[in-house]
C-alpha cells in the first residue's frame, strides 16, 4: 500500500484530546474516566466489544450527548461543544453508526444538505455537476437521483462517508463505517482515508470490529472494555490476539463449530420463479428459483442492493411477491404467522431493530413476540403469563449474554450488537427447521461474531436448513455448503463450496 509507505510529518501534535470523560445513563456507568489523544494526521482505531461505550464516547466528543464530567481539547485548546454544530465549527465531522440520511430525500439533496453553509438558493444543476466531479475523486459510484430510503445499507454508508468528506473536516470520526461494506469496498474506503491523513492532514478516529482493518491501516489504537480504557497508544507490535485480550480480558471466545457430516435432508424451502418489487414499484427480485435442504447452509453472496433485501422481506412476510411460487416442506407458503409457527421458520433480518423489534417495547416483550400466544405463556387462553415470559427472557438473556440484562429497558436503548444478540436469541434458541438470515454479524464484535457463526453451524449440524444472505464473503466461505451469487435480482452462479471459484464469483457479483 503506497499510503502506508509515507510517514506523517505531523505525528507528534495532538489534534484531539479527551480528559477524564465520564458518562452515565441512569444508574449505568457507560464511560468511566476516559482519557486519550488523537495525533494530528494519524489513523486511530477505537476498539471494544458490543456495549463497551465506543459510540457513546464519540457522541460525547461531538456534543450529541453531554458528558457528565471531563473535557475535550482541540488543538490543545479546551472547547465547549454543546451540539453538533459547534463540533462542525471546530473542524470535527462524524459518520454515525446508525444512518442519518433523510429518507424522503434523494442522494443529491442529502449531500447538499450537509454542505456548510447550505446555499440560500440552490442551483441543482450546478450542485449535481460539482458533486459528480467530487465523487470522481473517490472510489464510490452512487446514483444521485435515488431516494435515500431506496438505497441498500452499503450504499447508505457510502453516502454518509461522502457527506463528511465533502465537508473537508480536520478530524473525522467514523462509527463502524465498514460493517456493511464488502472487504474490497472497505479497503477502498480506508485506503482513501489513509491517503488523506497523509496528503490532506486529516486525523481519523475510526471504530471498527475488524482486526484485519486495524492491522492494515491503523497507526494508533485505543481499546475500551466495559466503559474503561484498557489501552491507548501506538499499534506497533500488537498482534490481533493481544488486541482481543485487551478487549475482553480473559473471557472465552467461541470457535466456529466444525462442519459435521450430516445427511442432506428433504427439501425445506423451494422457491420457483419468484418476482417481487421494491418500495418504488421497480422489479427487485427478478425470477429467482432455489431449493434448500435440511442440514445445509445456502449462502447468497452479492453487493448490497441487488434484491437481497426484498428476497428476505418476502420470506419473512414483510413484502408480498408479484408472482412465483414458494413452498415450505412441500406446502404453499404465504408467510403467515400460523405457517411460520407450523413449519418452525425463523428469521434474523438485517437492521434487526427496524425489521424484527418493536423499538419502544422492553426486552421481555420483544423476546415474547414469537411465543406470547403459545399455551405455555398464556393464562386462561387470552391473558399473558408475565411470569413465564419473564423467566423465558431471563434465561435467554443470560445464555446469549445480552448486556445490560435489565428486563424493563426499551430495546432501542441497547447497543447495536446487543439488539442483534437478543433477536438471535429469540429466533434460534427454540426448535427451528428453517432459518432465514441476512447479514447476521453486521455490527457485532469478534466475540459475538464467533458466537453467532458457531450457533449457525450448530443449527445446520442439527439438521436445520439455513438460508444465509450476506455481503461478507469470508463469512459465506466459512459457513456455506453451497454458494450462489445474486446480481440485479437474479441468481447468476451456484456451486458447492468446494468447487466455488472466487474469481468467477467476483466477476458475477460485479455483473459480468
Amino acid at each position: 500500500m503506497t499510503a502506508e509507505a509515507l510517514t506523517s510529518p505531523f505525528q507528534s501534535a495532538t489534534a484531539l484530546e479527551v480528559i477524564n470523560l465520564c458518562k452515565s445513563f441512569g444508574a449505568l456507568r457507560v464511560l468511566d474516566n476516559i482519557s486519550f489523544q488523537l495525533h494530528r494526521g494519524s489513523f486511530h482505531a477505537l476498539l471494544g466489544g458490543n456495549g463497551a461505550g465506543k459510540s457513546t464516547l464519540v457522541k460525547c466528543i461531538m456534543g450529541y450527548y453531554h458528558a457528565d464530567q471531563g473535557s475535550v481539547l482541540i488543538d490543545n485548546r479546551k472547547r465547549e461543544i454543546n451540539n453538533t454544530r459547534d463540533a462542525h465549527q471546530h473542524g470535527l465531522g462524524m459518520v454515525y453508526q446508525h444512518f442519518t440520511l433523510v429518507p424522503e430525500m434523494t442522494v443529491l439533496e442529502n449531500l447538499v444538505l450537509s454542505r456548510s453553509p447550505i446555499p440560500k438558493i440552490i442551483n441543482w444543476q450546478k450542485e449535481k455537476q460539482h458533486l459528480e466531479t467530487l465523487m470522481a475523486e473517490t472510489p464510490f459510484k452512487i446514483p444521485l437521483h435515488k431516494k435515500a430510503s431506496a438505497l441498500a445499507a452499503g450504499e447508505k454508508q457510502k453516502v454518509e462517508i461522502l457527506k463528511q468528506l465533502f465537508l473537508q473536516p480536520e478530524i473525522l470520526i467514523l462509527d463502524e463505517p465498514t460493517s456493511v461494506l464488502t472487504p474490497q469496498e472497505a479497503d477502498e474506503v480506508l485506503d482513501m482515508l489513509k491517503k488523506w491523513t497523509r496528503s490532506k492532514n486529516l486525523s481519523v478516529l475510526i471504530i471498527t470490529h475488524k482486526f484485519r482493518e486495524v492491522m492494515n491501516f491503523a497507526d494508533d489504537v485505543s481499546i475500551l472494555r466495559r466503559g474503561k480504557l484498557a489501552y491507548s497508544g501506538p499499534l506497533a507490535e500488537k498482534t490481533p490476539a493481544m488486541l482481543a485480550e485487551l478487549m475482553v480480558g480473559n473471557e472465552e471466545i467461541a470457535s466456529t463449530g466444525a462442519r459435521e457430516l450430516v445427511l442432506k435432508g428433504d427439501i425445506r424451502l423451494d422457491i420457483h420463479q419468484l418476482v417481487a418489487s421494491n418500495d418504488s414499484g421497480a422489479v427487485a427480485v427478478d425470477g429467482i428459483s432455489l431449493q434448500l435442504h435440511g442440514g445445509e447452509i445456502l449462502g447468497i453472496a452479492g453487493v448490497s442492493g441487488n434484491g437481497q433485501r426484498e428476497l428476505v422481506q418476502v420470506l419473512s412476510g414483510q413484502r408480498s411477491p408479484d408472482s412465483g411460487d414458494i413452498r415450505v416442506c412441500g406446502e404453499p407458503y404465504t408467510a403467515s404467522r400460523e405457517e411460520m409457527a407450523r413449519h418452525k421458520l425463523y428469521c434474523l433480518p438485517e437492521e434487526p431493530l427496524r425489521n424484527a423489534c418493536v423499538p419502544r417495547m422492553n426486552l421481555v416483550e420483544n423476546l415474547a413476540l414469537r411465543i406470547f400466544d403459545q399455551p405455555r405463556y398464556t393464562r386462561w387462553k387470552w391473558f399473558l403469563n408475565r411470569q413465564a415470559l419473564k423467566a423465558h427472557a431471563l434465561k435467554l438473556i443470560a445464555r446469549y449474554h445480552v448486556r445490560p440484562p435489565e428486563l424493563e429497558r426499551w430495546i432501542e436503548t441497547l447497543s447495536g450488537g446487543n439488539v442483534q444478540r437478543l433477536v438471535l436469541a429469540r429466533e434460534i434458541s427454540g426448535e427451528v427447521d428453517l432459518l432465514i438470515t441476512a447479514n447476521p454479524c453486521f455490527g457485532l464484535d469478534f466475540a459475538a461474531t464467533a458466537e453467532i457463526r458457531r450457533q449457525l453451524m450448530e443449527a445446520r449440524n442439527r439438521g436445520v436448513a439455513v438460508l444465509l444472505v450476506s455481503e461478507d464473503l469470508d463469512e459465506l466461505l466459512e459457513l456455506s455448503d453451497r454458494i450462489a451469487v445474486i446480481f440485479g435480482g437474479q441468481l447468476r452462479y451456484e456451486a458447492p463450496i468446494a468447487q466455488a471459484n472466487m474469481d468467477e464469483m467476483g466477476l458475477k457479483m460485479a455483473g459480468h
Binding site: T100, L101, V102, E104, M105, L113, K120, I121, S149, D279
Partner: protein, 308 residues
C-alpha cells in the same frame, strides 16, 4: 331566462366559478398546513385559526375601513395561535394532535366571544377583478369575477413548491420533518424550524379566514366555517404533502361543492343533498384509486405523529 341562453352549459360554468370562489379558504389553509406538516407537526388548530381569522378580519375591516388591514390582522392572529401551538409542542411527551384540538376549540371560542358585536354591521369587502367583463352573459361574468386573494394563492402554491425544493430553508424544513435524528446530526434546531413553519401555517389559515368573512360568503357569523379548516387539513393528506397538489385538491373540492347548487339552478333539484356530498365522495374515490398497499406512500414526512 338566462337559462335559455346557456342551458346545461351553466353547470360547468357554475362549477368553475364555484371552484375558484369556494376553493380559496381550502387553498390557504391547506398550503399552510402543508408547510407545518412538512416540518413534522400536525396542527389541527387550523380550524380555530380560520374562524378567529374570519372574525378578526371582519372586525378590523369594519373598524378601520380597510379590508387589507383586516387580512393582515387575521394573519397575525393565526400566527399567534401557531406560536402557541409550537411553544406547547416543544415540550417532551406533548402530543401535537391533542394540542391542536385544544387550540381549535380555543380559537373558535375566542372568535365567538369577541365576534358577537360584529354579526350585524357590514364591513368593507375585498376587491375582485372582473375577468369576465368582455362577456354579456351574466353567468360568465359571475364565474370569472376573481378575488385578488385567490390570485395570491395561485402564485403561492408554486412559490412554496420552489421554496421547499430549492432553498436552504426548504431543505432544512424537510429534514426536520422527515428525520429529527438527521436534523440533530446536522445541527439544525428542530424546534426552531417547526415553530417558524407552524407560525407561517397559522398566518395562511388566518388569511383563509379573512376570505370567508370579507368576500365569500362575505359576512361574519358563527356558522361561517363549518369545518372547512379541518377538511383542508385532510386535503393535505389527499395531496400527499405537495403544495401544487394542494392547489388542485382545493380546486377540485371547491368545484365539487358547487355541483349541487349549480344543478339546482338549472332546475335539477332531486337529490340535492346527495350532490352536496359530492366533494367527500369524490375525495374518497380518488384516495382509494391512488393508493396501493404494495408501495409506501411517497412524500409523507417521517416525523408526523400519525405516521411515526
Amino acid at each position: 331566462m338566462t337559462e335559455t341562453v346557456l342551458g346545461w352549459w351553466g353547470v360547468p360554468l357554475a362549477i368553475l366559478g364555484g371552484a375558484i370562489r369556494a376553493s380559496t379558504p381550502y387553498l390557504f389553509v391547506s398550503l399552510g398546513e402543508c408547510l407545518t406538516e412538512k416540518s413534522g407537526r400536525t396542527n389541527l388548530g387550523q380550524e380555530g385559526n380560520l374562524v378567529l381569522g374570519a372574525m378578526t378580519a371582519y372586525a378590523v375591516s369594519y373598524l378601520s375601513g380597510s379590508p387589507w388591514l383586516g387580512v393582515l390582522a387575521a394573519g397575525a392572529t393565526g400566527m399567534l395561535l401557531g406560536l402557541l401551538h409550537a411553544w406547547v409542542c416543544q415540550f417532551k411527551k406533548v402530543n401535537d394532535i391533542a394540542v391542536g384540538i385544544a387550540l381549535m376549540l380555543f380559537g373558535i371560542g375566542v372568535a365567538f366571544f369577541f365576534g358577537k358585536p360584529y354579526i350585524q354591521p357590514t364591513a368593507p369587502h375585498l376587491p375582485a377583478i372582473g375577468f369576465g367583463n368582455w362577456s354579456d352573459i351574466p353567468q360568465v361574468r359571475a364565474a370569472l369575477e376573481i378575488n385578488v386573494l385567490f390570485l395570491f394563492g395561485l402564485l403561492l402554491a408554486p412559490l412554496l413548491s420552489w421554496v421547499l425544493s430549492s432553498t436552504r430553508w426548504g431543505l432544512m424544513l424537510r429534514t426536520v420533518g422527515d428525520s429529527s435524528d438527521a436534523a440533530d446530526a446536522l445541527g439544525f434546531s428542530v424546534n426552531g424550524v417547526r415553530m417558524v413553519a407552524t407560525m407561517i401555517g397559522g398566518f395562511l389559515a388566518g388569511v383563509g379566514g379573512a376570505f370567508l368573512s370579507l368576500y365569500y360568503p362575505g359576512s361574519w357569523n358563527e356558522g361561517l366555517s363549518s369545518g372547512q379548516g379541518l377538511i383542508a387539513v385532510a386535503l393535505v393528506v389527499f395531496a400527499r404533502w405537495d403544495p401544487m397538489r394542494c392547489l388542485y385538491a382545493a380546486l377540485l373540492f371547491g368545484g365539487a361543492g358547487a355541483l349541487g347548487p349549480a344543478l339546482q339552478s338549472v332546475g335539477f333539484s332531486s337529490g340535492y343533498y346527495l350532490f352536496n356530498a359530492a366533494p367527500y365522495v369524490l375525495t374518497l374515490i380518488l384516495m382509494i384509486a391512488t393508493c396501493s398497499p404494495q408501495r409506501t406512500l411517497t412524500g409523507v414526512p417521517g416525523e408526523l405523529s400519525i405516521t411515526k
